[in-house]
């Protein structure tokens, strides 16, 4: 396993006067599952968009395999081996499931036949075998989100960035998603997940990075992070935090 596959080095992103990300640094090793959490407006999606180059950060570096990618374009990033999904699904709704995955597969397989074969293989892996010829827009939300991952997976990335994959899913679907993520890691992928659904991310993440108001306030294993005072304060406010300090009962 390669250490420091992706290094986020002092990233700052400003929108006018608003500091969405402020001097954020961390690194990711190959084969890790990293959770990126934080309250609404903490700057998670901004950071995500900086890594995938949909935004260019104002300062700082992002090193992927030793190359600075912070000034590149989204398509170049994908070609280098970083795939992503979107918070609001961006599948090609009027195309079939197979065609959606083929668009991803075309990156490494220029011929239609090869891309179809690769897409079918990917579809099997993601449980779309029966749904290949359905229009993507007709799928359920959870299927659409999974399709987006399948599509990104078909580009054969090294890192997958998943933006709120579990939002809006029911408990059963969350469980299926975590299984899927573990399966992807088993295949040698490194995963970064922006997530609000704690019961989804906490059991599977190797490390969790917590953002609040654009700052990184904590980093560590899920157990370390949930007991971190700053994190509790960020999520529940100072008042609750003070009350809880008096009371030693663990937070459920």
């Amino acid at each position: 396993m390669k250490k420091d596959l992706l290094i986020i080095d002092n990233i700052t992103k400003r929108f006018g006067g608003l500091l969405a990300n402020q001097n954020i640094s961390f690194s990711i090793d190959e084969g890790e599952i990293i959770g990126l959490i934080g309250p609404n407006g903490a700057g998670k999606s901004t950071l995500f968009n900086c890594i995938s180059c949909y935004y260019n950060s104002n300062s700082g570096k992002i090193l992927f395999n030793g190359t600075d990618i912070s000034r590149k374009t989204p398509e170049a990033i994908c070609q280098m081996g970083i795939g992503r999904t979107f918070q609001l699904v961006r599948i090609f709704k009027e195309m079939t499931v197979l065609e959606n995955i083929m668009i991803g597969a075309f990156l490494k397989h220029a011929k239609q036949g090869d891309a179809t074969a690769k897409a079918e293989e990917t579809a099997n892996l993601f449980g779309f075998t029966e749904k290949l010829s359905l229009e993507a827009g007709s799928l359920t939300i959870s299927d659409q989100k999974r399709l987006e991952v399948a599509r990104a997976f078909a580009t054969e990335p090294k890192i997958l960035l998943l933006d709120e994959m579990m939002a809006g899913l029911n408990i059963q679907e969350v469980r299926e998603t975590t299984d899927l993520i573990l399966k992807l890691r088993g295949m040698g992928l490194t995963l970064v997940l922006v997530e609000h659904v704690m019961e989804g991310i906490m059991p599977i993440a190797n490390r969790v990075i917590v953002l609040d108001y654009g700052l990184k306030i904590a980093e560590g294993t899920p157990e370390e992070v949930v007991n971190n005072e700053k994190v509790i304060e960020a999520y529940f406010g100072k008042k609750y935090h003070a009350k809880r300090r008096g009371n030693t009962a663990p937070l459920q």
């Binding site: 992503r84 961006r90 668009i103 991803g104 990156l107």
Partner: protein
């Protein structure tokens, strides 16, 4: 799939046999115009239908093709076939020059920018003395021959030349649909940001699609110049022509291989018939009929007439 192929063969067979059955110039002329517009419609469909970049400037490519041919033939006596090639080169150059800045614009803004480009081209050629300015260019009357691309006694050779161009356009579009390029263009139409996340350089693929569209349209321009033997700016570069191409695709089916073909078969006979029966006073009557047709289609079958044929069958 098999059924579609049989239908295509019957259709093409009918087109080949048509002028042998109908000897009069008018039906032949009508079918020539249908195939001309169908080919241009296919060209428009590649950028406007599949890639979703609505262009109101495609007439400029038609004009460039026509003018390149005419200028080379009149001034240097160069065969129109070479003029066709040079027209394509200039059209691609224009597509790239226009596309480079304009493809940064999204949706309606791109459409508006192409209107401007079309109008600029029209104005340039209206005022350009060397290119005949507003009077236009008369082709020299040369002996009938394939090399000269002029036939005076019968429309038959023109008919078969445009048939070849038309079939070639269908072929190009068929391959386009099945290639990576075609898939990528459709992805760009549906969601540009999603497409970028999959490693698609959207600028580049839009540019390629626009260039293919330009080449097909430019070849049609050359044909038109040699068919009518007289061109002037408003007959070759009018905004109305770009809009007509858009309407043809809309009626037939956007982003569908046979959409523009069906569209042209509905659109052109109406145009020709109103022209013949109503003359210049009836100008615009055809467009009134189309607007009604579009309204009806929008309500009843928004995917275009093509959807009638595919109704009930798997996509």
């Amino acid at each position: 799939m098999k059924k579609g192929l049989i239908a295509l063969i019957i259709f093409l067979g009918a087109l080949v046999a048509f002028p042998l059955i109908f000897q009069d110039p008018f039906p032949r002329h009508t079918l020539i115009m249908i195939m001309l517009y169908a080919a241009m419609g296919i060209g428009w469909n590649i950028i406007g239908g599949y890639t979703g970049q609505v262009s109101f400037g495609n007439a400029a490519f038609f004009g460039v093709g026509a003018y390149a041919t005419a200028i080379m033939l009149v001034n240097f006596g160069i065969t129109p076939w070479l003029g066709m090639l040079v027209g394509c080169v200039f059209s691609v150059a224009l597509a790239i020059i226009v596309g480079y800045p304009c493809f940064r614009l999204q949706g309606h803004y791109f459409a508006i920018a192409t209107i401007a480009v079309g109008e600029i081209m029209l104005l340039v050629f209206t005022n350009w003395e060397y290119a005949g300015a507003a009077v236009g260019i008369y082709m020299p009357i040369l002996p009938e021959s394939f090399m000269n691309f002029e036939f005076h006694t019968s429309k038959l050779p023109y008919y078969y030349i445009i048939l070849v161009i038309f079939v070639a356009a269908i072929g190009v579009c068929w391959f386009f649909e099945r290639s990576r390029l075609g898939y990528y263009c459709r992805a760009i139409k549906e969601d540009p940001d999603g497409a970028r996340s999959l490693g698609i350089n959207i600028q580049r693929y839009k540019m390629i699609a626009f260039s293919i569209s330009a080449i097909i349209t430019s070849i049609c321009g050359t044909f038109y110049a040699q068919y009518v033997l007289y061109i002037h700016p408003t007959s070759t570069m009018d905004l109305m022509m770009s809009i007509q191409l858009c309407i043809i695709c809309l009626i037939g089916g956007l982003g569908k291989l046979y959409g523009p073909v069906i569209g042209a078969f509905v659109f052109i006979p109406l145009t020709e018939l109103t022209r013949v029966y109503l003359g210049s006073e009836g100008q615009g009557v055809d467009l009134m009929i189309y607007s009604m047709l579009i309204i009806i289609l929008a309500i009843w079958r928004p995917q275009g007439l093509w959807a009638i044929f595919t109704k009930g069958t798997a996509k």
